[in-house]
């Protein structure tokens, strides 16, 4: 298995800073913004984006965590139910602009589930999507508003995002899936 590094810790840091500026620019400020990270690596990414925005705008934004397990479209197919990691939406989402944050955008199914989950909490003014890596191969009509890095991949490759908070280091790697034809 040959893992190839596609983002270093520095590149991840710069991508987060750039995306944090894009989010504020798109919103023309920070009014009404809330960041919601998708479990599991979207959560530390959302916190990092909030910290970057606080640094250059001086505004502390609410940060939430969203577990999309109960909204998966494959729950009726699984033999063993996935372990739930927990949801925490700290503010009323009505009339706010929600920035959904995830590490990798691939099929789009996680984001579909996340949007279904979010609207159970209220009616946001808008939902936008920020991801660290967009690797293509969408199966649903979904796109990201803010992308750290676009990475062309094939379906038999794995994109692995490692973050200090969850994995002890910052890096994005790509590798060929083993044991698959």
């Amino acid at each position: 298995m040959d893992a190839r590094q596609i983002m270093t810790a520095d590149e991840i840091r710069r991508a987060i800073v750039r995306v944090s500026h894009e989010i504020v620019e798109r919103q023309a400020g920070t009014e009404g913004l809330v960041l919601v990270g998708i479990q599991r690596r979207g959560v530390p990414l959302a916190a990092r984006l909030a910290a970057a925005i606080e640094e250059h705008e001086g505004a502390g934004l609410p940060v939430g965590a969203l577990d999309i397990t109960f909204y998966r479209d494959d729950l009726s197919l699984v033999a063993q139910q996935p372990i739930v990691k927990g949801t925490d939406i700290p503010v009323d989402l009505n009339d706010r602009t929600v920035i959904l944050v995830d590490d990798v955008l691939y099929t789009g199914r996680t984001i579909r589930a996340a949007m279904d989950a979010l609207v159970d909490f209220g009616r946001p003014r808008a939902i936008r999507l920020a991801v660290l890596v967009d690797r293509g191969h969408r199966e649903l009509p979904i796109r990201a508003d803010h992308v750290g890095k676009n990475v062309p991949t094939s379906r038999d490759e794995l994109v692995k995002v490692h973050l200090g908070e969850t994995d002890g280091e910052d890096a994005v790697q790509i590798e060929r899936r083993e044991g698959r034809a």
Binding site: F70, L75, V78, Q80, P82, I83, G86, T110, K160
Partner: protein, 351 residues
């Protein structure tokens, strides 16, 4: 599963990702005796997530969409039956309720035939209460889906024991070394039997207390465990009819209903004597820790096993038990709904 999961923890085996927790492996929930401490921990953690769902503006998630949960109770019940029904509906399952007294059971249909009929009508999961100990095990043999025991005879009441544990942990955290007293009619109590398994699994200092004739069986059980026989290994609990010794410095006191409908003649002289010697009163509770939790699985005979003024103390968590029951049953339905063949997910749906 094909090239789907990308960022999920399980897809990272062999990388620096933390070890993936073990998932749920039980098809049925017939008793809690088969649950490991890790299984119980997973139920508790999943219940936390369900509590969060219950706090939302919309308390419903689509996790069990398209699943049929059939609830059949051969014995009277309010809280357990309604709690399972609310739990299943909160998960978007289709719920069918069968009152055994108003079904073909009253025409003499056998349990096996009833279960086969329920299966033919499309049930994926059955929640069942039966007056005969072991009846859900028979149901599990003939039913192709999952059976959840909602209470069978004197034997087991797994969802009650798990909601009791959840309620205790919410207040006390780690149960290791915590003194928990189960006081009352343990002989006829499936709640007591299931609580013995969960509380000893979590390392609580469990005391079983009641009149001597009612403790029969429990002292033999405790002695067997004390001699390290049976499946328990290191588990232990204490059996006594000395109320003061049991309640001394207790962290939790759980009073059990005196089951008059199951009481053999001659076990107790009278209700009044029972209340005088074993009822949970303020005076007796004074021996426990000042903030000791007061619990009761319901329905209560106020003035018999628990004094009315004790049931409404600030530290009484009896209504909290009922509320937690919905979240625990949501967790159980969710966890059990996965075991029906098919592929194992390697993690998130990826992307």
């Amino acid at each position: 599963m094909s090239a789907r999961e990308v960022s999920a923890p399980a897809a990272q085996a062999g990388s620096s990702a933390p070890a993936v927790e073990a998932g749920w492996t039980h098809k049925h929930l017939l008793d809690v005796d088969v649950l490991s401490a890790a299984d119980i921990g997973l139920v508790m953690k999943t219940t936390d997530a369900m509590k969060e769902v219950l706090g939302r503006p919309i308390t419903k998630v689509p996790a069990l969409r398209g699943r049929n949960v059939t609830i059949i109770f051969y014995e009277a019940s309010t809280r357990t039956r309604v709690s399972f029904e609310v739990a299943a509906k909160n998960l978007s399952a289709d719920v069918v309720n069968i009152a055994a007294s108003a079904s073909s059971v009253s025409k003499g249909e056998s349990l096996v035939d009833t279960i086969r009929t329920i299966e033919a009508l499309g049930a994926h999961m059955i929640v069942m209460r039966h007056g005969t100990s072991g009846a859900p095990y028979l149901a599990a043999e003939v039913f192709s889906g999952s059976v959840l025991n909602g209470g069978d005879g004197w034997h087991a009441h797994p969802s009650q024991a798990l909601l009791d544990l959840y309620t205790m942990r919410a207040h006390l955290g780690d149960m290791r070394g915590r003194k928990v007293v189960i006081l009352g009619d343990v002989l006829h109590s499936r709640v007591a039997r299931s609580n013995v398994w969960t509380l000893t699994a979590m390392g609580a200092d469990l005391w079983i207390c009641g009149p001597t004739p009612i403790l029969r069986g429990f002292d033999a059980w405790a002695a067997r465990w004390a001699n390290r026989r049976g499946p328990s290994g290191h588990r232990a609990f204490t059996v006594t009819s000395d109320v003061a010794a049991a309640l001394a410095d207790a962290d939790v006191v759980m009073a059990l209903r005196l089951q008059r409908e199951r009481m053999d003649a001659g076990l107790l002289p009278s209700l009044r004597e029972y209340a005088a010697r074993f009822g949970l009163t303020r005076e007796r509770l004074a021996g426990a820790k000042p903030d000791a939790l007061v619990m009761h699985p319901g329905p209560m005979n106020e003035g018999v096993e628990i004094a009315a003024d004790v049931a409404v103390l600030d530290r009484s968590v009896i209504t909290e038990q009922v509320a937690n029951g919905v979240a625990v049953r949501m967790a159980l339905l969710y966890l059990l709904s996965g075991i029906h063949g098919g592929w194992h997910p390697e993690g998130g749906i990826g992307g």
